[in-house]
Symmetry: C2
Subunit: 143 residues, 2 copies
DNA sequence: CTGCTTGCAAAGGCTTTGCAGAACA
DNA sequence: TGTTCTGCAAAGCCTTTGCAAGCAG
């Protein structure tokens, strides 16, 4: 996996470009947050993004993290996951794929889209079209 | 659809039996809440259940509604849906089926399980097994 | 009786907002 | 210079909790 180091101007440029290409003006904070998300493809809650982002350098405020994550999700840079109502999770990989979710450990993990085939014949209600399909496989401890 | 009228002792008995068969002791409030849920198979938020339940008769408190819905869900009498993080929805039909969700109108509607075929080859993580599969098809306005 | 349930209000936790100052173009 | 963004704290909202009074069995 290619590491993205916000200190490294090479990677910094990539992030800036990525933000620009999604119509997001690349402020210092947004680049920092985006670096956190894309450093490793993960499923993070807003609180976790805040903590990771602020491990180094100048801290970013909580409000800005929430705003930026919302913005990124609206712009399609990341994906918002609703697996339980406690909190939202943000998924840095936007390509279509599905998830295992363990409510006890609050862990989410990816399911390779090649492993899942969905055949849907149902028509969406009049005036609407499908914007995305989310499959969450809930887990429980064996036995 | 067979209406369930909580005033009607015939239906009341059915609800009591249903609660008992799920290991739930049938208090006055729980019967009232269950009647609301089962009056018509629907997707309701806790707030909506509260409002509907309290349209008639002696009002049930908010805390009791939340507690009872949580209890019903844990006991498998209803199903808890997480389609957005704003609030939980409760689905009075527990048989496996899937949902369309329109985030703009906050409307949920069922998808006939016969219309959806899921082929999953992915293995659940070690020590866990699948407890349920939730498919949510997100909608957006056409055009 | 004895334990479970209810109700009220207050607290909790995640997220948004209001507004002044800072950064950007 | 005008617009956009940030940060802090406070507010908002859904949900849970603490505890005394009430009900079920």
């Amino acid at each position: 996996m290619s590491q993205i180091d916000p200190q490294n101007s090479e990677h910094r440029k990539k992030i800036v470009q990525l933000l620009r290409s999604h119509g997001i003006s690349p402020t210092v904070q947004r680049v920092k947050i985006a670096s956190t998300m894309l450093l490793r493809p993960m499923h993070l809650s807003a609180e976790q993004v805040l903590a990771l982002t602020n491990q180094t350098g100048r801290p970013v405020s909580k409000a800005t993290v929430y705003n930026s994550l919302g913005l990124f999700a609206r712009k399609g840079l990341i994906r918002e996951l609703f697996v339980d109502q406690e909190r939202a999770f943000y998924d840095s990989s936007t390509h279509p794929h599905h998830h295992f979710y363990n409510p006890l450990t609050q862990e989410i993990c990816d399911i390779d889209p090649k492993q899942v085939h969905i055949n849907m014949n149902a028509q969406p209600p009049a005036g609407t079209e499908i914007s995305g399909i989310e499959v969450v496989v809930h887990l429980q401890p064996k036995e």
